[in-house]
């Protein structure tokens, strides 16, 4: 029995989530394959987006998987780090932009 929540070996069993609910799981994987199939974005662009999102949702499985996938799609370390910074900037920005609401409220309750 492992004494930690995440085991890298579990990623290999991702496909087996259909064991408890086949129809939804199968539809998800079909959708997933379509998303990462040929489209308007290149395979590398999709992989870099996935890597960035993996950091936002803080999924260690996805971070491992898409770090390797980005390298296999020919991305380099600088491009990968920039993608993570984009995620970080949007995530941080999403907090900071709420400061406008804070400022508006403060100005409303403070004396002019």
């Amino acid at each position: 029995m492992h004494n930690h929540y995440y085991d890298p070996e579990d990623l290999k069993n991702f496909g087996k989530v259909t064991e408890f609910e086949e129809k939804m799981g199968a539809k998800f994987f079909e959708y997933y394959q379509t998303v990462f199939g040929k489209g308007a974005l290149s395979a590398r662009e999709k992989s870099l987006i996935a890597l960035a999102v993996a950091h936002v949702v803080q999924c260690p499985y996805c971070i491992d998987a898409y770090s390797t996938d980005c390298l296999e799609k020919g991305a380099n370390e600088q491009q990968m780090m920039e993608a993570v910074h984009v995620a970080c900037a949007i995530r941080g920005g999403a907090s900071l932009v709420h400061a406008t609401q804070m400022m508006k409220h403060v100005k409303k309750v403070n004396l002019p």
Binding site: A43, R44, L71, K73, G74, N76
Partner: protein, 353 residues
């Protein structure tokens, strides 16, 4: 400079030990599907030869570089070198064969003192010559500065490794300063017409991953390399060949030490591509070692898995009978998954689109 596994007297310098690790190095490795089992349902087991096209000669293990992934374990401390006598035996066998191309590899093949003579003699037989040039050899010593002119004179196809179009990734794999020298050497090759349209002088680059992952799509990487090398350095080349790192020799040592061995082999097996298996290069290639012994490919050569004669002795190029050779099955093992993963891998790059 880093020493070769051979000079370090590492157990991994021996092919037998490498084969043992790949098959029995851990409980998990013992459970992995044998390569032959993957070939059986495809009707490819035992693996048979097609018509011989490529005559590959490893003229020696001496090299001016010590690359971290080198499957030959080549380096300046290696002294194994093909003699002119063995080259003459190769020429005789080549003349009697159906091969149209001679693929010269090493080490740095240009460091063999008889390299130029050998190229001249091969060309007299009207066979095409490919040289696996590491690029930096051209700048290693003034006596090599004229190699681009020599290659041009004999219409040699130059195939050179460049794992990435930046210094960081290239030097990490091939050694400090290799990227800058490689760029200079590519510019020298371009200056005499290599890689330029209309010259007929073929200059191809080889990409292989700088770690425990598979290479990307050849077409996409080629477009990146062409754009970046042209923009940054004004360099032109013809094709990019994408090659998978073979889990043997120094790369095997890296995989073991970094804890990536099991996952890398699992990845290769999971990515097994039947189409690539049908086109593996050992089917139309013969590989000759520096001492004249015959192998199915350069990887089997480094793993000491020789082709055996009908009397079960190691077959030497001096005694090769092409008809008998064509009927001998190809020796396979777990490392062969390196050639069949994804789009496949060969000395000419991907095997399928």
């Amino acid at each position: 400079m880093t020493k070769s596994l051979f000079s370090q007297a590492s157990p991994l310098a021996k092919g037998e030990e490498q084969i043992r690790i790949l098959n029995e190095g851990s409980p998990k490795l013992r459970t992995l599907t044998p390569f032959g089992k993957k070939l059986e349902p495809l009707g490819l087991f035992p693996l048979k030869r097609t018509s011989l096209e490529i005559f590959q000669v490893n003229v020696g293990k001496m090299c001016n570089q010590v690359c971290k992934h080198c499957h030959v374990d080549a380096g300046p401390d290696r002294r194994e070198i093909m003699t002119r006598e063995t080259m003459l035996q190769c020429l005789k066998a080549l003349k009697e064969s159906s091969a149209h191309t001679v693929d010269l590899t090493g080490g740095a093949p240009e460091m063999n003192p008889d390299f130029r003579w050998f190229v001249e003699e091969i060309r007299k037989l009207d066979k095409k010559v490919i040289v696996r040039c590491n690029l930096t050899i051209i700048l290693a010593n003034p006596s090599y500065y004229d190699l681009p002119e020599f290659f041009k004179k004999y219409q040699v196809q130059v195939v050179s490794s460049l794992p990435y179009y930046d210094k960081r990734n290239t030097d990490r794999q091939r050694g400090d300063g290799v990227f800058d020298k490689s760029i200079k050497a590519l510019q020298m090759l371009n200056e005499v017409g290599y890689g330029k349209g209309g010259t007929g002088l073929q200059l191809d680059l080889v990409y292989n991953p700088t770690g425990a992952f598979l290479p990307g799509a050849q077409e996409e990487l080629e477009a990146d390399f062409k754009r970046e090398l042209k923009t940054l350095f004004g360099i032109e080349f013809n094709q990019l060949f994408v090659i998978t790192n073979m889990p043997i020799s120094r790369f095997l040592e890296y995989l073991e030490q970094s804890g990536n061995l099991e996952s890398y082999l699992e990845k290769l097996i999971a990515a097994f591509n039947p189409q690539a298996a049908k086109g593996v290069m050992c089917r139309n290639t013969v590989s000759i070692g520096w001492d004249g012994y015959v192998y199915d490919c350069d990887f089997n050569q480094q793993l000491d898995l020789p082709v055996l004669s009908q009397t079960q002795r190691r077959l030497h190029v001096a005694e090769i009978n092409w008809k008998a050779f064509s009927e001998e099955p190809i020796i396979i093992n777990q490392h062969c998954f390196g050639c069949t993963a994804g789009s496949g891998s060969s000395c000419g790059g991907s095997l399928v689109e």
